[in-house]
């Protein structure tokens, strides 16, 4: 536990030192404020300001957060291996599992801090200029982004443990991001619809992609009527129930965090340093 916390603190220090944490916090804040201003100039700011901004941010963050988390996770162990520092670290009184967990939780905390700083600062500025009525949705969106980051960091770390070099790991991470963000809709969702257009098969497809799971959860939190989701919305409303749907999607996200992380721990212990 102590060793894990030593590595975690080093990851946090590295995040501040390299300034990526502050750069991403600034990016998140600028995104949120720009969207808010754009909607304000079109006369939408007001009681629905937070809701509109949240809806706009979801699509941007479903692209940006997975990319950031996958790239950071993928570079974590592969970068140490490439520089030779992985062997130096593992020659200390620390187990591979403690090292992986320290790196994972360090990165998770760093990304969460970037999200909290960026969206927190933007949220406070928006609250100053418009009535605060929908902060809950905005905060829920920040929490969902944080969960998505944790899941994608877990996948990134799994890529990292298999990669000999940072460049290879980053390349694989970008391919995975492309598959999950862009090709999944075309491939898996299209396949599911061509085989069966039932809401059940669509729900199964959504559970297989954390980005989709977060998108559906975000929409469910914003919209009272799930017809906007088509057959999936009807299936969740009529067959599964909204509460069970949320539970299933949350469980899928938890699995997307736990399973790649467990696999990373297993392979880190069985691979030569």
């Amino acid at each position: 536990m102590r060793e894990t916390s030593v590595i975690l603190r080093k990851e946090l220090r590295d995040a501040f030192r390299s300034r990526w944490l502050l750069a991403f916090a600034a990016t998140f804040a600028v995104l949120a404020l720009t969207l808010s201003l754009v909607q304000g100039s079109s006369g939408d700011l007001g009681a629905q300001g937070f809701n509109r901004t949240t809806a706009g941010l979801i699509n941007l963050c479903l692209l940006l957060v997975p990319l950031l988390a996958l790239v950071l996770g993928a570079g974590a162990i592969a970068g140490e291996r490439e520089r030779g520092t992985l062997a130096t670290l593992l020659s200390q009184p620390i187990s591979p599992a403690q090292l992986v967990l320290g790196k994972y939780f360090g990165l998770v905390l760093a990304v969460w801090m970037a999200l909290a700083l960026g969206f927190g600062a933007a949220g406070m500025l928006m609250a100053l200029v418009s009535p605060v009525t929908d902060v809950t949705h905005y905060m829920l969106f920040v929490v969902l982004s944080a969960v998505l980051a944790a899941a994608m960091l877990s996948v990134g770390l799994l890529i990292s443990v298999f990669s000999d070099g940072r460049l290879k790991a980053l390349s694989v991470a970008i391919v995975v991001w492309f598959l999950l963000v862009l090709l999944y809709d075309l491939g898996a969702v299209g396949l599911a619809l061509s085989v069966s257009s039932s809401g059940r098969s669509l729900l199964l497809v959504v559970l297989g992609n954390p980005i989709e799971a977060v998108r559906i959860l975000a929409i469910m939190s914003l919209e009272s009527d799930l017809d906007i989701l088509g057959p999936l919305g009807s299936y969740v409303t009529n067959e599964v129930g909204r509460g069970t749907g949320v539970a299933l999607l949350s469980a899928a996200l938890a699995a997307w965090i736990a399973v790649p992380l467990a696999a990373t721990l297993h392979f880190a212990a069985s691979r030569d340093a």
Partner: protein, 300 residues
Amino acid sequence: MLTASGLTKKYGSQTALDGVAFELSPGEVLAVIGPNGAGKTTLIKCLVGLVKFHGKVTIDGIDVAKDGRAARAKIGYLPQNPALHAEMTVSETALFYADLKRVSVGRAREAVEAAGLAEHADKRVGALSGGMRQRLALALALLADPPVLIFDEPVAGLDITARLELRGLVLDQRAAGKAVLLSTHWLEDVPYIADRALVLDRGRTSYLGAAADFASVTAPLSRLYLRLNGRTPDAVGLIEQIAPGGLIDRTGDWLVVSCRASDKARVVEHLVVSGVHVLDFRVEDSPVDGASFRHAEGGR
């Protein structure tokens, strides 16, 4: 203190180590010798638990394969090319490894001072010279005062002063009761610092015994560069008497004599006594090569 038995490591179909076995007691220095590719670094990586292997390694009774973390708490390891985080300062590096090794902040600062790096404490590790980085890595290996020290090619790239300092350090650690294992491909160091020698040849043990006995059956080679003031043909004849079988060649003004390391001083002495004026000379100690090992095997 350290035991290895049936130590075997394969990389794919290639066997890097094949059934290596030895013991190392407190207050003993074991030199692991072999040419490049003999398996020295692989052996050390197995001992530290950095790679998976067949066989068994225990450090103070702790099985490295089963509880590597506890075993490594008893090891101070200096890798061949120490890789430290370049962006951290010397001070941060010492404190970080002290934290991992559960050593006090005060001890970490002492280690930085003892390594002669106190005035560079705020300098980034990436900005240190190679020698300073080596000193820092050595300080980190000694940080927790571990009972077992494992040094991989510690003298590689060091100048003669640093090499002698390291010899002194190894002897001090031995006197303090530490079990020291160091790999080298410089045979000349072995009789001075090691009690026993383990020779690896293509992953197999070709010699395990007293370092003094090993030195007597091997033929460490030296290359002697001599610049003479005339009488070169006479000198060649004189050298052949002293170092029979030695190779004599010419490079510009220099006469190049390849001979046993033990003959090199006698060659110079004999030339001077015979009236050949030696204007200048240089010596290169040859690292261990395959020929030396075959010699060692034959002399077992």
